[in-house]
């Protein structure tokens, strides 16, 4: 009997002989190099294998890398389509410079030399003139760990801006407040009960690695519970689906908490040991003696009103189902896995409190860091140290962290146009890097206004593999490599282990295997597509050509001083010096660490990482430390560095108390005492406040599809499956408003409206509307844009607003790819985000995606894809939300609590105002 393999054995990777599928059953043999890399199409960092045809030097196909511990040889649809991206007839292959007004659509092809000289010279001037704060790098999903950050740090620039506050800040902040760790790392495969508030079986932070393990857990008997007002694909696989009104999830979770407490379904010993219950009693219950029993009693008091009946009334979910779900969670005892990423936390004002309520269940069941529980990203993600670490920036960029948002978990990225409108600064050089804020962010027309204003943005450089709504408004469009065209390292906390992935430009590697000398990746990439790592090094050399600024040295060859570092040198150094175990593993195969990574693409650093907080403190750490007996804390230099458990000093958590913080002194200190503990606060669009008679609804605009990633996936094979985002409306609501599937409807927000088609379904809670986040791409030029995925539109100024009209949708066209002529879909969705005002959570800084909208039947003259937005109104809404903030300084005149990290932390001194 044949033992079938999922993939060719690594011993075959240097010359894999495959039968040509297109001429099968004729047995034409083809020779391939199989070269591993890392997918670039979302943040999961799944391992991929590129099949490089030895004769044609092209990437024939992409499969999963079976050696990769996270993705285990499997990928989602988005990974497999990488060759579609490589061969996309609409991709940008040469550097382009604006010719004419910004946004006028006139471009001239320029040389990389010219681009590097101008951009580098401009940055150099800003640095020399001490205008570092006018340099900003704005990244969507980074897809790499730390390279670009280090570039900025080398320049001395506090200019790292991210997309996280439109993505996941509230999920992260809630988690961080509990345990000092940015995000969870659930061990789904070993869980007995899994509760998802996000749709991790179709999207989620690490879709493919997590979906594998959730289903593995469920197949092994785990109960899967999903809270979502919408029948997501994830809800569809749930054993228990709890379609709570959005924004009421906190009430549901606290009802479960109460059941765990009342039914004694909590892990008493775990809570007693690891939770800072003393802090809570001390601060909030001076009436009680500080004993653990009093803490439990206090908890029961605190959540006494959250009966299943109350929760049922508040959330719309059947009380018996709530009890059933709570008991399943209680039964799991240490093997309760959960995740909350975008839907509830990202949708609602105070969404981070939903995360805190959820994590209370993790804590009560004693599932923190356990096998089958919820681990910590810090212990499961591995980021190797680079050859040199530049000094942190010496100033604080208030365009990133304005003082109104001292606790913002990440940069207030999506407010940038409003901050500039208020003259809080300007930017001389602004990079958007695989980032499309005009389209992805709320209020895109404010972005367009900012980008077209030369007073606000001096030079806009778009680093992107393909056209985007944002690149259109750039001064330079510089083509960057895709997942098989660049070097990066990347790791994610996909499960209870640590691994490091290595992304490679596979055609370069192939040609080097053939014996060619390739000096730079662009020589092997199509057209003049660069890889970012080499771009940053080259740019840095333009900024500091003689090394006088002290910047160049961080990108200098260790072997040949006076020349830029090569990728072999940079990554070779890292793999040799910064990855424990890798040099030894490589030596066993008579390989250098770099050669090992080039061959296998991944290295497992550690397996079975559980309960890292129990790690005993080292003798070095303990030297000079004292023990605070009352608190059972290890104190060093006036700061808790660990705690004493059963007589052993262990590290605990990275919170100020080193314990799990049910009670947050930080929130009290920074002006939010009412939020000191996990509590239920209805979101900003609460169902009770809506007036159905006026057509008011709660719009969920932030769900995604398994087939698409915004900004990266407008390719033919994905679009032929998913290309439209009609408005989900419950049957009951559709009847009331006389709407049928396919009818045109008009959805009004505070700042405008959009027109789309209705899709009537029993898969959404009445009162709630849904619309996928991914679709509705547009372009302003017939040929410059993704023609298979975008509508050609016109944008007309109307008063203080803009009107978008679709000229036509996707159309077949002639190109080098015969499939271009086979495009059969014309609808490509409607861009809803344009019509959303910014709604920053005053604490986490997260954009609260849910919209209070009014539904109307379309009027005569309304057409599919019509959009209108008034940017004057959007600035008013910005000011309303800004008024909800409680600005810095906090205790000690700080801009931000010192224990609150930043993606690129500036010097400690500048934390003080």
């Amino acid at each position: 009997m044949t033992m079938f393999k999922t993939h060719p054995d690594p011993s075959q990777w240097d010359d894999f002989i495959d039968y040509e599928s297109t001429s099968w059953p004729r047995k034409d043999r083809r020779h391939y190099w199989i070269i591993p890399s890392v997918c670039f199409n979302c943040e999961s960092a799944c391992g991929i294998l590129a099949y490089v045809d030895k004769e044609q030097l092209t990437v024939r196909k992409i499969e999963g890398n079976p050696l990769h511990p996270g993705s285990r040889g499997r990928t989602c649809a988005k990974g497999v389509v990488t060759p579609n991206q490589l061969e996309d007839p609409d991709r940008i292959l040469y550097p382009l410079k604006r010719d004419g007004e910004r946004g006028s659509g006139k471009w001239t092809q320029v040389s990389w030399e010219e681009a590097l000289d101008e951009i580098g010279g401009r940055i150099r001037k800003a640095i020399v003139e001490n205008r570092r704060h006018e340099i900003m790098y704005h990244v969507g999903r980074p897809g790499e760990d730390g390279y670009a950050n280090r570039v900025l740090q080398a320049w001395g620039v506090d200019g790292h801006n991210s997309h996280t506050n439109v993505c996941s800040s509230s999920a992260r902040l809630g988690h961080f407040l509990w345990c000092g760790d940015d995000r969870p790392s659930p061990d789904y495969a070993n869980a007995r009960t899994i509760l998802l508030l996000s749709s991790h079986l179709e999207t989620g932070h690490y879709f493919n690695p997590h979906a594998q393990r959730i289903i593995e857990g469920q197949s092994n008997g785990a109960t899967l519970i999903v809270i979502d007002p919408r029948l997501s694909n994830t809800s569809a696989k749930a054993d228990v689906w709890l379609p709570a009104y959005s924004g009421t999830e906190g009430a549901l979770l606290l009802a479960m908490v109460k059941i765990l407490l009342d039914d004694d379904l909590y892990d008493r010993e775990f809570v007693r040991t690891w939770v800072d219950w003393r802090g809570y009693l001390h601060a909030e219950r001076p009436d009680l003696a500080i004993t653990f029993d009093h803490f439990i009693a206090a908890l029961k008091d605190l959540y006494a009103t959250f009966t299943p009946e109350f929760a049922a009334e508040e959330t719309g979910v059947d009380a018996a189902q709530i009890v059933e779900a709570a008991r399943a969670i209680g039964r799991a005892r240490g093997t309760f896995s959960t995740h909350n990423w975008r839907s509830a936390a990202a949708g609602n004002l105070w969404g981070w409190q939903i995360t805190r309520c959820l994590y209370l269940l993790v804590v009560l069941t004693g599932s923190v860091g356990t096998k089958g529980g919820v681990g910590l990203h810090l212990s499961n993600k591995f980021v190797p140290k680079p050859p040199t670490t530049p000094a942190p920036a010496e100033y604080w960029n208030e365009l990133l962290f304005p003082r109104e948002y001292p606790l913002a978990h990440f940069e207030m990225s999506f407010l940038l146009p409003h901050l500039l409108k208020e003259n809080r600064g300007k930017l001389d050089v602004y990079f958007t890097r695989v980032y499309n804020p005009v389209w992805t962010n709320p209020d895109g027309f404010s972005w367009m206004e900012m980008l077209t204003d030369p007073e606000k943005i001096g030079l806009h450089v778009a680093l992107t593999p393909t056209w985007s709504e944002t690149a259109w408004f750039a001064d330079y469009v510089l083509p960057m490599g895709l997942g098989t065209e660049r070097h990066d390292t990347m790791s994610q906390e996909t499960h209870a282990a640590q691994w490091l992935g290595f992304r490679q430009p596979v055609l370069r590697v192939a040609r080097e295997k053939r014996g060619e000398t390739i000096r730079a990746t662009y020589e092997a990439n199509p057209g003049e597509v660069w890889e970012e790592s080499e771009f940053w090094a080259a740019l840095t050399w333009r900024i500091d050509p003689d090394g006088a600024l002290g910047i160049r040295k961080h990108f200098e060859s260790p072997n040949e001083p006076g020349t830029p570092v090569t990728m072999d040198e940079y990554y070779g150094w890292m793999f040799e010096h910064s990855v424990p175990g890798l040099p030894e593993a490589a030596a066993r195969e008579q390989l250098t660490p770099l050669a090992y990574m080039r061959k296998y693409g991944v290295f497992k650093v550690k397996d079975n990482v559980y309960t890292p907080y129990e790690a005993p403190l080292s003798n070095d750490a303990l030297a000079g430390a004292t023990i605070d007996d009352a608190q059972a804390l290890v104190i060093k230099d006036g700061k808790a560095i660990g705690l004493v458990v059963d007589g052993v000093a262990v590290s605990g958590f990275t919170t100020p108390s080193r314990r799990l913080e049910f009670f947050s002194q930080t929130l009290v200190d920074w002006g939010w005492p009412e939020h000191a503990v996990p509590r239920y606060v209805p979101g900003h669009v609460h169902w009770r406040d809506l007036k159905p008679q006026d057509g008011e609804f709660d719009l969920l605009p932030n769900f995604r599809l398994p087939t698409l990633v915004h900004t990266r996936s407008p390719v033919k094979w994905l679009y032929e499956i998913s290309h439209d985002n009609p408005l989900w409306i419950a049957t009951a609501d559709a009847r009331r408003y006389g709407v049928a599937t396919g009818d045109l409807v008009k959805v009004r927000t505070r700042i405008g409206y959009f027109v789309t088609r209705a899709w009537v379904t029993e898969g959404i809670r009445p009162g709630v509307l849904g619309m996928s986040h991914h679709l509705g791409r547009w372009r302003l030029h017939e040929e410059k844009g993704n023609r298979n995925a975008s509508a050609l539109v016109t944008i007309d100024r109307q008063g203080t607003g803009y009107k978008v009209t679709q000229v036509h949708g996707a159309q077949p066209f002639t190109s080098s790819d015969p499939d271009s002529a086979r495009i059969w879909w014309s609808d490509v969705g409607v861009h809803q985000n344009l019509t959303f005002p910014v709604q920053p959570d005053p604490v986490s800084g997260m954009h609260c995606w849910h919209q209070r909208v009014t539904l109307e039947r379309a009027e005569p003259g309304d057409r599919y894809g019509d959009i209108f937005v008034d940017t004057a109104k959007s600035h008013e809404v910005y000011k309303e939300w800004l008024a909800m903030t409680r600005p810095a300084p906090g205790p000690g005149g700080l801009r931000r609590p010192l224990w609150f990290d930043r993606p690129m932390r500036p010097a400690p001194a500048v934390y003080t105002l």
Binding site: P25, R74, W728
Partner: protein
């Protein structure tokens, strides 16, 4: 030798479409066609709503109808049970698409030949799992040897809870499903909307059940990607030209048998027959996706395919017609007396094989059974008689009164018989399957109702009335005018029905 099979544990499928795309990448499948895909169905009322994912791929049937019908042996069964395809032998006749009850074959727009899933035989020979199995994030797809009782796939196949698609078709499918419900297994069980939740609907089968707004909990397909129906107007025209071609020779031969010695039955009728048979052959060749390969049907024949038999019948028919004309032209009347019987036999064969060819289209319940062979014969008689009547009139060929009477009776009788057949089949008999019922419903009150009622039935009735009136010797209009009207309406009715039959047969969803 192994016997490869496949199982899909639907409880694990998350509907991510990775399999679809991995297949596209492995085989470089163009936009618009698929070897495998994931149908999605939503059913139930809130909050008891469910969404079901149903990956489909070729069943590699134990008794594969596509292999039986393929005229050139391009489709073949490997010893390991995989149904594979020699693209080099395929003439692009699309018969396999008609035969497959699972909509698993399509024409590749690059090669213009048929394509289908072959369990990635190219990988299997390298001891690699099919691409869709290798990629699947949740490992819901299982490939292996059904004859190895220890294999996972054999265990699932033996599980009483495992289902296959359309077992009633008797094809012995080898893709087994765990956790499937009727709403996904049966293509007719779910309504088909006009937009999907993530995109436009393409190639929606015209006879699909439509959503009923008063029944929102009905199972509804939310994603499916059927292939283009293989046959259309081309086949309706073929049926008409062939019916005229065989019918005129048949009726001419019968006239001669009854003593007619006119130019009509001797030369004009057979000449028209030959013309239409040649036209039929031309239509068939031009209609191929690879017309330049038409002769493969003769050099690589699959004798199980009615298409091959049909080809030979048409050639035979053309040959006899030619001989007839030659004999008639050169005045060998004795030869005609000999040719009468082969001409009748060959006309019947060339007429009736099409009924069996359509019935070999196992996918289509409307076409099943031998009765359509009889119906086609009746139609051919009507078409032949009608054309001869027209030729007699416009060709100013005089024939004996008895012969005219024979033609009148042939036309009237055949039209009446055909009307009766169509009425009984589509308005009286109960459908045995849901598929058949949907096709009949599409005929009665669906997209084909206008052609059916107005074309096939009304025109047929008018033809019958006209012929009857002529026979009754009515004085209102001229007798010949009535006969001409009868002939024209009979041809229109016949063509309308053929078109309805071809289209409605293919109007039911298969996946």
């Amino acid at each position: 030798m192994p016997n490869y099979g496949f199982a899909i544990d639907l409880r694990k499928c998350i509907g991510c479409h990775a399999c679809t795309i991995a297949c596209k990448a492995e085989h470089q499948i163009p936009v618009g066609v698929n070897r495998c895909w994931v149908k999605t169905v939503e059913e139930g009322t809130f909050p008891a709503t469910r969404r079901l994912f149903f990956p489909v791929l070729c069943n590699q049937c134990g008794d594969a109808p596509c292999v039986s019908i393929c005229p050139t042996n391009a489709l073949f069964k490997r010893r390991d049970g995989i149904v594979d395809l020699h693209g080099d032998s395929c003439i692009g006749c699309r018969a396999c698409m008609v035969a497959c009850p699972y909509d698993q074959l399509f024409i590749d727009p690059n090669t213009h030949t048929a394509e289908k899933c072959n369990f990635c035989a190219n990988r299997v020979e390298n001891e690699l799992l099919p691409a869709c199995v290798s990629v699947c994030p949740t490992e819901c797809r299982i490939f292996g040897d059904l004859d190895d009782p220890t294999s996972a796939v054999a265990r699932i196949a033996a599980d009483a809870a495992a289902d296959v698609r359309k077992p009633e078709k008797g094809t012995a499918p080898k893709v087994f499903y765990l956790g499937a419900s009727a709403s996904v297994l049966e293509p007719e069980a779910a309504v088909r909307p006009f937009i999907y939740k993530e995109g436009q609907v393409r190639l929606r089968p015209l006879g699909s059940p439509s959503p009923d707004p008063s029944r929102p909990g009905d199972a509804r397909v939310d994603y499916d990607t059927p292939h283009a129906k293989p046959w259309g107007l081309d086949m309706a025209i073929y049926l008409l030209t062939k019916g005229i071609g065989t019918g005129t020779l048949l009726v001419s031969a019968v006239l001669r048998l009854l003593g007619d010695r006119s130019t009509l039955s001797g030369l004009a009728g057979p000449a028209i027959s030959l013309l239409f048979i040649v036209a039929t052959a031309a239509i068939l060749v031009v209609d191929l996706e690879r017309p330049e390969r038409f002769y493969y049907i003769l050099i690589r024949p699959n004798w199980r395919s009615w298409m091959v038999w049909g080809t030979y019948f048409l050639i035979g028919h053309g040959a006899i017609g030619t001989l007839w004309i030659a004999a008639s032209w050169f005045g060998f009347t004795g030869a005609l007396d000999v040719l009468v019987w082969p001409a009748i036999a060959m006309s019947i064969l060339a007429t009736c094989y099409t009924g069996f060819l359509f019935a070999q289209g196992l996918a289509r319940d409307l076409w099943q059974g031998p009765q359509s062979a009889v119906a086609l014969l009746v139609q051919a008689v009507a078409e032949g008689a009608a054309v001869l009547l027209l030729v007699e009139r416009f060709g100013s060929l005089t024939i004996a009164g008895a012969s005219t009477l024979t033609l009148e009776w042939a036309l009237g009788g055949a039209v009446a018989a055909h009307l009766a057949f169509v009425i009984v089949e589509n308005l009286i008999l109960r459908s045995a399957t849901r598929h058949h019922a949907l096709a009949v419903s599409a005929i009665r009150r669906g997209p084909f109702a206008r052609q059916f009622w107005g074309g096939a039935l009304a025109c047929g009735a008018i033809a019958l009335l006209a012929v009857a009136a002529a026979g009754a010797g009515t004085e209102v209009v001229s007798r010949s005018g009535l006969l001409l009207a009868g002939a024209v309406f009979a041809l229109v009715s016949s063509f309308a029905w053929e078109w309805v039959w071809v289209e409605a047969g293919q109007s039911v969803p298969l996946s």
